[in-house]
């Protein structure tokens, strides 16, 4: 890479005014991206990585004050006015955002939107020409039958296709710099792998400078040439991808890499099950249908049968829309199954009503994905944890709440705070404490760590597993993250399109899978190791 850098940040600092205070989000960031190079900026939430990328397009809100320079091909973006900035956006620097649904306008067809991206920058382009070019672009990003897709609306496309359309719009004017801000975060792993392939391919074809913002070390290992690690607004380390993963220098990088869960055979828990175990939860031929538009039935769960023995952790994996959360909700009676039965500790939950249902429910706990929405913002932490005790008329609550908070390694003094005063990891610990308040025999954990940063995820998982060992509750652990499922579960079930496609002991399913779908899922999950990831990519292309 001897070319002059295409994108340069020099001593960039951004602070946000909020009331009378000012918060420094980015503090002295310097980095360069050469043409044809992929630089990944990695960091956890609040590290300032997105703010850095936004400044390249001049997209920061008016409350931000910026110092330092951001150069795109030699032009300092920070000094440009509105009109000149608009001329650069899209033509010189383009951006792909995280959520493809909100990045596209639902009221216009895909073709219209791609054509608009063209017509904004290329004058005297007729409508017809723009649409022709749009079709070419869609083909370029790997959309088949591009001509027919032009007339479709965003909601008619899958998430992966939508993200491809967003990328097509971004590359419409052949920008010199493409910024992908968590562009694959909202996508399933198999789709993520395809989009990463596409980005790699586009970089090779157009020689674009690619700046990838992500929190996922697997994505970094997969696509980056060089990596910039950010922490609390500062760059803590810059290195080539091989160096960074093999020889991390900064303490923070080491800790970050150490906390990324890895999928490896024989790692994680091993539990030898006694022969005749009591069953904690059994689902028999469970079917859940939702009524869709026009009375059409949408079968979310299709003939699922699963059992969980007492003290066992069953990992339920699947991509979005596979029905895994629906299974979890039906398992504790939050949803009524259309047919089939749910037996909880030997009793039929499906037939239980009123008092019986409540008695059964108090023997299970549930941990939700987003701790921000699973705790009532108007209640104190102590009240949240105590709620199951209040509902079930348990006395001595203060003592119990203190003990519960201690068991999830939280300071009991936090019980007087409100949830919004806690960090994400602390909130999720509160969620776990609440789920365990009644000494449940079964815990449903629905993506309990997906909303957390990796380092926090590792801490929360550790607390959870330690408690599981100690208290011996059975657990249905629902997640899309194979590495997490590898860590926590004794057995694994894989769901696809409402059905369980494979089920068995952890290593058998994850490493010697019989089903092609499982194998594709496993090979698509990027591993945080550039060398191994390269091999896996080759393997996947052969599959």
């Amino acid at each position: 890479m001897t070319d002059a850098p295409m994108l340069t940040f020099e001593d960039l600092a951004v602070s946000f005014r909020s009331g009378r205070e000012s918060v420094r989000a980015v503090d002295g960031v310097s980095l360069t991206v050469a043409p044809g190079e992929v630089v990944a900026v990695v960091g956890e939430s609040g590290s300032g990585k997105s703010v850095t990328s936004m400044s390249a397009l001049g997209l920061l809100p008016p409350t931000a004050t910026t110092t330092g320079t951001v150069r795109v091909g030699g032009v300092d973006v920070t000094t440009l006015d509105g009109a000149r900035l608009r001329a650069i956006r899209g033509a010189e620097v383009a951006m792909v955002f995280q959520e493809p649904m909100t990045a596209l306008n639902p009221a216009f067809t895909v073709g219209w939107q791609v054509a608009e991206a063209l017509r904004l920058h290329i004058e005297d382009l007729s409508k017809k020409q723009a649409l022709d070019r749009a079709a070419e672009l869609l083909e370029m990003v790997g959309i088949r039958d591009a001509r027919d897709r032009l007339g479709q609306y965003p909601h008619e496309l899958s998430g992966g296709l939508r993200q491809r359309v967003v990328i097509a719009m971004a590359i419409a004017c052949e920008p010199k710099v493409l910024i992908a801000d968590e562009a694959t975060t909202a996508l399933d792993v198999t789709v993520q792998a395809e989009i990463l392939d596409l980005l790699r391919d586009l970089r090779a074809r157009f020689g674009m400078a690619l700046l990838v913002i992500t929190h996922n070390m697997g994505v970094v290992a997969d696509i980056a040439d060089r990596v910039v690690v950010m922490y609390q607004g500062k760059v803590v380390e810059q290195a080539t991808v091989e160096d960074l993963f093999a020889r991390p220098q900064a303490d923070y990088t080491k800790k970050l890499l150490a906390s990324v869960p890895r999928l490896a055979r024989g790692e994680g828990r091993t539990r030898t099950a006694p022969a005749d175990e009591e069953v904690a939860l059994s689902l028999e031929h469970l079917v859940v249908e939702f009524r869709g538009k026009g009375g059409r039935k949408n079968r979310a769960v299709d003939d699922v049968s699963l059992t969980i023995a007492k003290g066992e952790v069953l990992g339920l994996v699947g991509e979005s829309g596979s029905g895994k959360s629906t299974v979890g909700r039906a398992a504790i009676g939050l949803l009524k199954p259309t047919s089939g039965s749910v037996r909880l500790l030997g009793e039929a939950l499906t037939d239980a009503r009123g008092r019986d249902l409540r008695r059964l429910r108090r023997r299970c706990g549930i941990v939700f994905q987003d701790p921000a929405s699973s705790l009532d913002p108007r209640m104190t932490v102590g009240d949240c944890v105590a709620e199951p005790l209040v509902i079930n008329g348990v006395g001595d609550r203060t003592e119990r709440v203190v003990a519960l908070l201690k068991s999830v390694e939280l300071d009991p003094a936090l019980r007087r705070r409100h949830p919004h005063e806690l960090s994400g990891g602390q909130r999720q610990r509160v969620g776990i404490a609440r789920a365990l308040a009644l000494d449940p025999q079964l815990v449903i954990a629905d993506e309990p760590t997906s909303a957390l940063d990796v380092s926090v995820q590792a801490a929360v998982l550790e607390v959870f597993l330690e408690l599981q060992e100690r208290l011996g509750f059975a657990c249905l652990f629902i997640t899309h993250d194979l590495a997490v499922v590898g860590r926590v579960s004794d057995r694994v079930a894989v769901m696809n399109a409402g059905r369980v496609v494979e089920e068995g002991p952890r290593d058998d399913v994850l490493f010697d899978s019989r089903e092609e779908y499982t194998r594709r899922l496993v090979t698509s999950a990027p591993v945080p190791d550039p060398v191994e990831q390269r091999q896996r990519r080759a393997e996947r292309h052969g599959l």
Binding site: S259, R358, R362, E387, E409, H418, S423, I444, E462, E469
Partner: protein, 314 residues
């Protein structure tokens, strides 16, 4: 920004798994003052809202403590001293057509208006909140029925209902509170239902159900407290509306019976003497109504802004 706080990790025992030690600090959220204190500071930074509060305070003092300072006879008529202009015969605001002191009358009339307005506004809010929360939480056929009742109620003009009932029952203060409260709960019911629809699917309501909690707890402990912003803001508008409504009714001659009166009733009387130029019988009551309604609306706007941080600075 506060320094990073480490995730609380006590003396963790047994670590049988090969879990990597998580030692990275998770930046704690910026420590914010309690939400109520933050709202209060936002509210008091809003000049319009504070002036609303001051006006309301002054009016309340005037109406309820004023009579202790300014003694007047508001029961017996004194035809000899009727229609005096301000200043005459020791009446700072003159007298009305039966000789009541206008200033004193403004005070006791204000008592009636404010009592009815505030009580009816609160009653309407109470009924509307519970109705809306139950309807939105329940969903399905119950929601459909409850909301059709609201639709039907809204289709009938409140003023018409008030006039009809005023001809049937003798309008005393409690009766008027009850009637106005019962015709104006429809709007808060709709607002709260909309909130409840989104709140009922929140994870914390689901979590509570999974713990074996009942519907009553869901509605009163989770849904209503989380809709409280909407409820409080709307309550201030409800009070303003109720005061206006009672003024209409009295203006049309169907208010509380003499010798009691309210601001609307005073206006109604004053109108008869417009051509005689007896302005003191119209302006004081009219201005008082405008002031109190504006004050409540300003307070409501201020409250809404402090609940909705996003609307700040607009």
């Amino acid at each position: 920004m506060s320094p990073p706080r480490f995730e609380g990790r006590g003396p963790c025992t047994a670590q049988p798994m090969s879990l990597s030690s998580p030692v990275v600090a998770e930046p704690a959220p910026v420590r914010v003052a309690g939400s109520y204190r933050r709202m209060a500071s936002l509210f008091f930074a809003n000049r319009l809202a504070v002036s609303g509060l001051v006006i309301l305070g002054v009016l309340l003092l005037f109406c309820f403590l004023g009579p202790l300072v300014h003694h007047t006879d508001q029961t017996h008529t004194n035809l000899a001293g009727a229609n005096l202009s301000p200043g005459q015969g020791g009446h700072p605001l003159g007298t009305d057509d039966v000789g009541h002191d206008e200033l004193g009358r403004l005070m006791i009339g204000g008592q009636t208006s404010l009592e009815i307005g505030i009580a009816a506004g609160l009653l309407a809010t109470l009924i509307g909140t519970i109705w809306g929360a139950v309807s939105g939480y329940a969903g399905g056929w119950l929601d459909a029925i409850m909301m059709r009742v609201v639709d039907a109620g809204i289709a009938i003009p409140a003023l018409f209902l008030l006039l009809v009932t005023a001809t049937i029952v003798r309008p005393t203060v409690p009766v008027q509170i009850l009637i106005i409260g019962c015709v104006s709960w429809l709007v808060p019911a709709r607002l709260v239902r909309a909130e409840a629809l989104s709140l009922r699917s929140r994870d914390y309501v689901q979590a509570m159900k999974a713990m074996g909690g009942g519907h009553r707890r869901a509605v009163f402990r989770h849904i209503i407290p989380n809709a409280i912003g909407t409820v409080v803001v709307n309550a201030t508008f409800q009070v303003a509306d109720a005061i206006l409504l009672i003024a209409y009714v009295s203006f049309l001659g169907l208010g509380v019976a003499p010798p009691k009166t309210d601001w609307g009733g005073m206006l109604s009387k004053g109108i008869a003497y417009t051509y005689d130029g007896y302005w003191w019988m119209i302006f004081p009551a009219g201005i008082a109504i405008v002031l109190v309604v504006c004050a409540f609306n300003a307070i409501g706007d201020g409250l809404r802004d402090s609940f909705e941080v996003r609307l700040q600075g607009r």
